[in-house]
């Protein structure tokens, strides 16, 4: 896997703090954005961005390719929708319930998948996700092809009416930023350093005495949980939970978003998900050709620029992003 050059100790402060500066710029842009761009689109994009960041935590920092992340995203959105609509929970609890469900699924799927390495890991995660897709297809509460429709957004903490798109946007933005900060914290912690060591050379990490399986499982569960937070939030945003979010093309899409933005960069998945979503909206009139274009982007990214957009920029400026 290609990696961004680490900045040397004597670089200018501007470069040393590149991550925080970019973060600040991003926050400002996202605060202004809803005045210029349709908020509903922005909210969905932020949900996918968080989803991609969660996925990137695994592939970018532990080197594990999960090809079934739609499982946590989609099931969390079903559970959150069910909690908000049928159980009548307030939005904050609905999101937490969905997220907890994703975490539980992450524990089960993760402990199975980490029993095999490399390419098998990807196939196992894909197969488990497909199994749960069939369960979603069959289960009564998911509504089959119709999904769970008309999910109420409710009042946040009983106070803020989330039917207003602006209020909902601020909630989504808060969740997204909290997610990014959390991921940033993880990868710069001692725990994160061990994860990177596993990515670089797992046998060596084992020989240094680290129980790598535990670390991998912990990272897997964290990633699934964050993906679940993204899925639960999306269920409230679009007020529907459907089979699309739990099916394998969604797993492929999140891989594509991360790959386009840049594997193993903090902001890459965010940029990648915006790029892919804008492309899908702008090119929607092309129908099935969008699938072909996505395939071409996959091939081009793998062959020509494996660093992705943000990875290339970071490499060019010799900073960390």
């Amino acid at each position: 896997m290609e990696r961004v050059v680490e900045p040397s100790a004597k670089v200018m402060p501007l470069r040393r703090h590149s991550e925080w500066i970019t973060f600040g710029v991003m926050v400002v842009v996202l605060l202004i954005a809803p005045f210029f761009i349709y908020p509903l689109f922005l909210m969905q994009a932020l949900c996918f961005a968080l989803f991609a960041c969660a996925f990137n935590l695994l592939i970018g920092y532990v080197g594990l390719l999960s090809f079934g992340h739609a499982l946590y995203f989609g099931w969390a959105s079903y559970i959150a929708a069910q909690a908000a609509k049928v159980w009548g929970l307030p939005p904050e609890l609905a999101i937490l319930t969905g997220t907890a469900a994703a975490a539980t699924l992450g524990v089960v799927a993760g402990s199975l998948a980490i029993r095999r390495q490399g390419i098998y890991f990807a196939m196992i995660t894909l197969a488990l996700a497909q199994m749960m897709y069939f369960v979603a297809l069959r289960a009564k509460f998911t509504g089959g092809e119709d999904g769970i429709q008309g999910v109420p957004r409710g009042h946040l903490l009983g106070l803020v009416d989330l039917r207003s798109d602006m209020a909902m946007y601020l909630l989504v933005l808060a969740i997204f930023l909290a997610g990014i900060l959390f991921i940033h914290r993880i990868i710069h912690s001692p725990f994160g350093e061990v994860l990177k060591a596993i990515r670089e050379n797992e046998p060596r990490a084992i020989s240094l005495g680290y129980k790598t399986e535990r670390y991998k499982l912990a990272a897997f569960v964290l990633s699934a949980t964050l993906a679940g937070a993204a899925g639960s939030t999306k269920a409230l945003v679009v007020q529907i939970a459907s089979l699309t979010d739990v099916n394998w093309p969604m797993s492929g899409e999140v891989v594509l978003m991360t790959l386009v933005g840049g594997l193993g960069t903090i902001f890459g998945p965010v940029v990648g998900s915006f790029v892919i979503l804008v492309m899908q909206y702008k090119l929607a009139f092309l129908g099935e050709w969008v699938l072909v274009i996505q395939g071409v982007i996959f091939v081009a990214c793998v062959l020509l620029f494996r660093r992705g957009i943000i990875g290339e920029i970071a490499n060019w400026l010799r900073i960390r992003l």
Binding site: I119, Y120, M123, V135, L137, V292, Q294, F298, L303, R306
Partner: protein, 295 residues
């Protein structure tokens, strides 16, 4: 009518037969995946799309050049195999030095392209492909009706699977192939053109998928998404069997087909998920797979 475990025997044997048919396809596809993985170290996500291309070429050959089933059975795999060779030369050969995840991502992209183009061309609905005249009808065995075509599919795929096993495990060509899998540099030093061998191996693996596709065309309709769902099940089959053994891939493929067929009889709700459940159980009991070597 005889009952077995409270199930009419005709239904039981009927599902067993369908299970064997599905098993034939699992075996052919997982065999191709294993052969490709052995040489290229790449999991070929395009395999499902290439299976679909086999069925599609059979359909197009009949429509535009009047070539029937039997010719298609030879021509379609050759055509798709040539496409595979081109794919290997154009794309895959640049990936061998990289992390093998990139191979999965690239072939996934190729699968999206092939599936997308075919959907634009065919629409999402299936196209019917008629049974060859010589295989119409069937035998009445007393306890069940045995359609000739289904018998042919099982026999043909068993023959191809065992033929592949024989070539790889018992001939000089196969010995070279296995040696190149273990140590390509050393085999090159003996004057064997390993890069060409890799290209042809990919072409062959892909042709196996197309062969399965042609055989599937009269049973299921020819549809653009016939490959993508199948390939995920085949991945589970490969995880269960492990990719280290050719015979293992064949046995696992047929075995799981039968188990799936039986599940349809006794517990129909689980028939879609049973293979994945077995995969989970195998991972718990023997993580390396039934025939796999611990990596």
């Amino acid at each position: 009518m005889v009952d077995i475990f409270g199930i009419p025997s005709a239904a039981l044997f009927g599902q067993l037969l369908i299970g064997l048919i599905n098993g034939s396809f699992y075996a052919l596809l997982s065999l191709g995946l294993a052969v490709i993985f052995g040489m290229l170290n790449i999991i070929n996500f395009t395999h499902g799309a290439q299976y679909m291309l086999g069925a599609l070429s059979a359909f197009l050959l009949l429509k535009y050049s009047g070539l029937g089933y039997w010719s298609a059975l030879i021509v379609a795999p050759v055509l798709v195999g040539i496409v595979g060779v081109i794919i290997e030369r154009m794309f895959l050969q640049w990936l061998y030095k990289l992390d093998h995840l990139y191979g999965l991502l690239l072939t996934f992209g190729l699968a999206l392209i092939i599936e997308g183009v075919s959907r634009n061309y065919l629409g999402s609905a299936g196209l019917p492909y008629a049974l060859p005249d010589s295989l119409r009808g069937g035998q009445n065995l007393g306890f069940m009706f045995l359609p000739n075509y289904r018998v042919w599919v099982i026999v043909a795929s068993l023959t191809v699977c065992l033929g592949t096993w024989f070539v790889i495990e018992r001939t000089r060509l196969g010995a070279n192939l296995r040696a190149a899998t273990e140590n390509p540099m050393l085999v090159r030093a003996f004057g064997i053109n390993v890069p060409r061998m890799i290209t042809l191996t990919y072409g062959f693996g892909v042709a196996l998928a197309a062969f399965a596709g042609v055989m599937a065309a009269p049973i299921y309709n020819v549809s653009p998404n016939m490959g993508s769902e199948l390939i995920i099940v085949v991945f589970a089959v490969v995880v269960i069997g492990g990719m280290g053994s050719i015979l293992g891939a064949i046995v696992t493929g047929f075995g799981l087909g039968i188990v799936e067929g039986l599940t349809k009889v006794f517990f129909p709700e689980a028939s879609n998920t049973v293979i994945f459940v077995i995969m989970a159980i195998v991972l718990l009991i023997s993580p390396a797979g039934l025939f796999g070597r611990r990596a």
